[in-house]
């Protein structure tokens, strides 16, 4: 077996697992929809207000949904000993970990892509910003999984790591939130958002290369 076989085997296994636990896997998506619905209820349904808030609301909700789903990334592997077996594989842990992160994104990030435009429409986001919203989601939701993986890997060994996880991960999410919602905001106002998208893309590429390193190191610490 080769390294690429191991990489794809991890993605395949995690997708299969998500399919077997589909009720659980759908939770972040429901959560996302629910949080977005809460905003009009809280601030009132004035179209102007909602329209101007739409990029922020969608992105904050996406962020919270990602945060909620993070804990599941390594939790069951840690509990049933699969994580130990992963660490003992002769293949580089960084590559295996990247497989896990990608699988996590496919399960939790990808569905957001499908629902978000619909919700954005509910909030009255102008049609001209839809494309940009999609692009930011495509580029930046994987970033949420990559950055979040560092936080989960550090806290997976803790019995009550949930609160600490948010404290660790949310400051790291701030730039993603700013650039992503900023880009949609600009697009909604008819301005070009290329610079923000480029920055997000650069962050994604950097995170793809760099994030697996601290994640692997943190997992090694956590099985201790």
């Amino acid at each position: 077996m080769s390294i690429s076989a191991a990489f794809f085997a991890i993605i395949r296994r995690d997708l299969l697992l998500a399919f077997r636990r589909r009720a659980e896997a759908a939770n972040p998506l429901f959560f996302f929809v629910l949080v977005v619905t809460l905003f009009p209820l809280a601030v009132g349904a004035q179209p102007h207000l909602l329209q101007s808030m739409a990029p922020g609301v969608i992105w904050v909700s996406a962020l919270l949904a990602a945060l909620l789903s993070l804990d599941a990334m390594f939790r069951s592997d840690f509990d049933d000993g699969s994580l130990e077996q992963l660490l003992l594989s002769p293949y580089p842990l960084t590559v295996l970990v990247l497989g896990k992160i990608i699988a996590h994104w496919l399960v939790t990030g990808l569905p957001l892509l499908l629902v978000a435009p619909l919700l954005a429409d509910f909030l009255g986001l102008p049609a001209q910003a839809m494309g940009t919203l999609w692009l930011t989601l495509i580029i930046a939701t994987p970033l949420l999984s990559l950055i979040g993986a560092v936080g989960v890997a550090l806290t997976v060994g803790l019995r009550r790591g949930g609160m600490i996880l948010s404290l660790l991960v949310l400051p790291l999410y701030v730039p993603v939130l700013i650039f992503a919602s900023g880009a949609v905001d600009r697009a909604a106002g008819g301005l070009a958002a290329d610079a923000q998208l480029d920055i997000l893309l650069a962050m994604l590429l950097a995170a793809l290369v760099l994030a697996p390193l601290p994640v692997s190191a943190a997992l090694k610490m956590s099985v201790n």
């Binding site: 077996m1 080769s2 076989a5 191991a6 085997a9 991890i10 296994r13 299969l16 697992l17 077997r20 636990r21 069951s76 509990d79 049933d80 000993g81 699969s82 130990e84 077996q85 992963l86 660490l87 003992l88 594989s89 002769p90 293949y91 295996l96 090694k220 099985v223 201790n224």
Partner: protein, 218 residues
């Protein structure tokens, strides 16, 4: 050194795993200090000692999960991270390391993908651990003893030389224990190595058995 065909039986076997002056402590408490031993092809090493004497910690250090406070471990003369160690070892711990939502076959396929060396194929391994015919059962339907045997199948599939087993006999019935001992014996006769902890009295007759007793030092 010229290999002498006639004298090969008298020569002490060449150690493959060498542990030198290993020390480990947990929460200010010294578990063991200056522990040295070596393991050669075809040998079994049994770790004995009370609960909390550091048996599991030692095994976890050998897996690379823990770092020792002091000392070194060499596999074929190289450190664990630089050499071929992880290609040639496999570990069964307290947890089964299997996904309960997946079937036996799916779990073992994944094990196969994670290892670069190829050992037994899945069907053979399942026959060896007497789980043939359970391929499509999901792991959560298996009994505790069957899950243990599934872990043993993992060892066979990984094609490892060194087996590290932490309490492999727990939750096994008499038949399961006999089966596990037979697997260990067969592995060792083929030139494999086994390191294990157990509360159970081993009946590995005729095998070169090393015992290390870890006292809880105060």
């Amino acid at each position: 050194m010229q290999p002498d065909q006639s004298g090969i039986m008298q020569q002490p076997p060449q150690p493959v795993l060498v542990v030198n002056n290993l020390s480990c402590s947990r929460d200010d408490r010294l578990l063991f200090a200056e522990l040295s031993f070596s393991l050669a092809a075809g040998q079994v090493l049994l770790l004995e000692g009370d609960n909390g004497s550091g048996k599991t910690s030692l095994l976890r250090i050998l897996c690379g999960f823990r770092t020792a406070d002091d000392g070194e471990i060499r596999w074929r003369g190289q450190t664990l991270d630089s050499g071929s160690y992880y290609k040639e070892m496999a570990y069964v711990g307290h947890a089964d390391g299997a996904k309960k939502e997946l079937t036996v076959l799916e779990n073992l396929r994944f094990t196969q993908a994670l290892h670069s060396q190829s050992g037994y194929d899945i069907d053979q391994a399942l026959i060896k651990v007497e789980l043939a015919g359970f391929d499509d059962n999901s792991v959560q339907t298996l009994s505790a003893g069957q899950k243990r045997r599934l872990s043993l199948a993992r060892l066979l599939i990984a094609g490892a030389v060194l087996w590290i087993l932490d309490e492999p006999f727990t939750s096994l019935d008499r038949r399961g224990i006999a089966l596990t001992e037979a697997l260990i014996a067969a592995h060792v006769r083929q030139g494999g190595m086994v390191m294990l902890t157990s509360h159970h009295d081993l009946t590995l007759t005729g095998l070169p058995l090393q015992r290390i007793h870890l006292n809880s030092c105060q």
